[in-house]
């Protein structure tokens, strides 16, 4: 049995199939926009309220994508930390196969600092990392109903998904 000559091209190697298709890339495929374009950013934290009892901070989630699993090609919504928390719980219920990453710190030790600029910035970064990991996951993109809603719906209704 002849051994494949190491310097032969693949198409003339041993055992050529009669129905081998020629795979040529089109111009669009070479230079066009890739099909996996997904940008998710968590930016622009704003703190509302005047009294400590009614103060809270929310963040803007900006999404730009061409992945068909997402409803819109671009979206801009606002969410607060507790929304992220309920979203994470919903995700855990939706999948047994995927390990959902943790959110940035929620402990009571940080409670008193939660309107401090450094704390908000650290939290923003952590939320962005969390959302990127979750949005980029192929099984969640196609399998989770809560993911696309959380990122793109104007209003997040946690009761729909728990």
């Amino acid at each position: 049995m002849p051994m494949a000559n190491p310097f032969q091209s693949f198409s003339s190697a041993v055992g050529r199939d009669s129905n081998v298709r020629e795979h040529k890339q089109t111009f669009d495929e070479l230079y066009g926009e890739p099909e996996n374009f997904l940008e998710v950013d968590v930016i622009n934290p704003i703190t509302y309220g005047s009294q400590p009892s009614n103060m809270y901070t929310d963040y803007e989630i900006v999404c730009r994508t061409n992945i068909p699993a997402f409803k819109k090609k671009s979206s801009r919504v606002r969410r607060r930390y507790s929304d992220f928390d309920s979203f994470r719980k919903a995700l855990q219920h939706e999948t047994t196969r995927v390990v959902i990453p943790k959110l940035p710190d929620k402990s009571i030790l940080t409670y008193s600092q939660r309107f401090n600029d450094d704390f908000i910035e650290e939290r923003r970064q952590g939320l962005e990392r969390f959302l990127n990991m979750v949005a980029g996951h192929p099984l969640l993109q196609t399998g989770s109903k809560s993911l696309i809603s959380f990122i793109q719906d104007d209003v997040w209704d946690k009761d729909r998904f728990v």
């Binding site: 049995m1 041993v14 890739p34 996996n36 980029g136």
Partner: protein, 319 residues
Amino acid sequence: MFKSPLDIELRLDGEDTRETVEVKSTKGRKEKLSLYKDGETVKGQVTIRMRDNKKVEHTGIKIQLLGTIEITNDGVQADEFLSLAHELASPGELRHPETFPFEFRNVEKSYESYRGINVRLKYYLKVTVSRKSADVIREKELWVYQYQDPRGEEGDSKTANTNTNTITKTTTTTPPPPPPPPSMVKMDVGIENCLHIEFEYSKNRYSLKDVIVGRIYFLLVRLKIKHMELSLIRRETCGSPPNQKSESQTIVRFEIMDGAPVKGETIPIRLFLGGFDLTPTYKDVNKKFSTRTFLSLVLIDEDARRYFKQSEIILYREE
């Protein structure tokens, strides 16, 4: 500590000209062992010298050629599949150095020598000088290779002989038809709506000195791929169900693509097997263990998620 009163030297005939194999020992060092084939005679000489020139009494000297399979499974289990012995001397006294020639004729060596993760198959000579106190023993390991016909399964020589016996003298013998050329292995794999690739390679059966020629064609890429690797994995399975244990070892890992591919891209594969420490595919050796080799394609995305496809390749040793 009592040192043995004897020095035993084991020499094989033609050791200097015989082919050797370099094998990694358990301590990580490399040993050179003499190579023997199935059916080959194993012969040589045993020279016994006394230390301190004192005469030594013994109850017999013998030499054995043993083949064993050792399985490490919370302790070592050794199973002998080959055991030949020759008596070198009957009970007596050794007063001066003596040399004993030995010959094990046309020894059938059905399996290849193998050093794996939990399994070891070895052939070795063992000289035993029996004494009323402790026996004095000397061992010497040999290495055995088994060669296979590239066309078929192992050991087809017997069936070929029976065919010629049944052909009468009046008809002309026609050679067996050439085997069909091996066909390409082609796989369509992926994740629904996220990734779809065509994984193709030349055939599923390779000699240890062969080349794997193939390609990966991307039909759909909705993931952010960072790079792609191709590995060869050896999986050793020992025992029989329900107590079967498998352990894998990555023999080589290559990065074959760096960066994000797009739809329509083709990545070529060319893997020269001769450069690696590969083991032929062993199926159920002495009903004790198997060794299989897998080609593993792994894609890694930007979040370090790994997507993989493993498929078995049959390896054989060609002469």
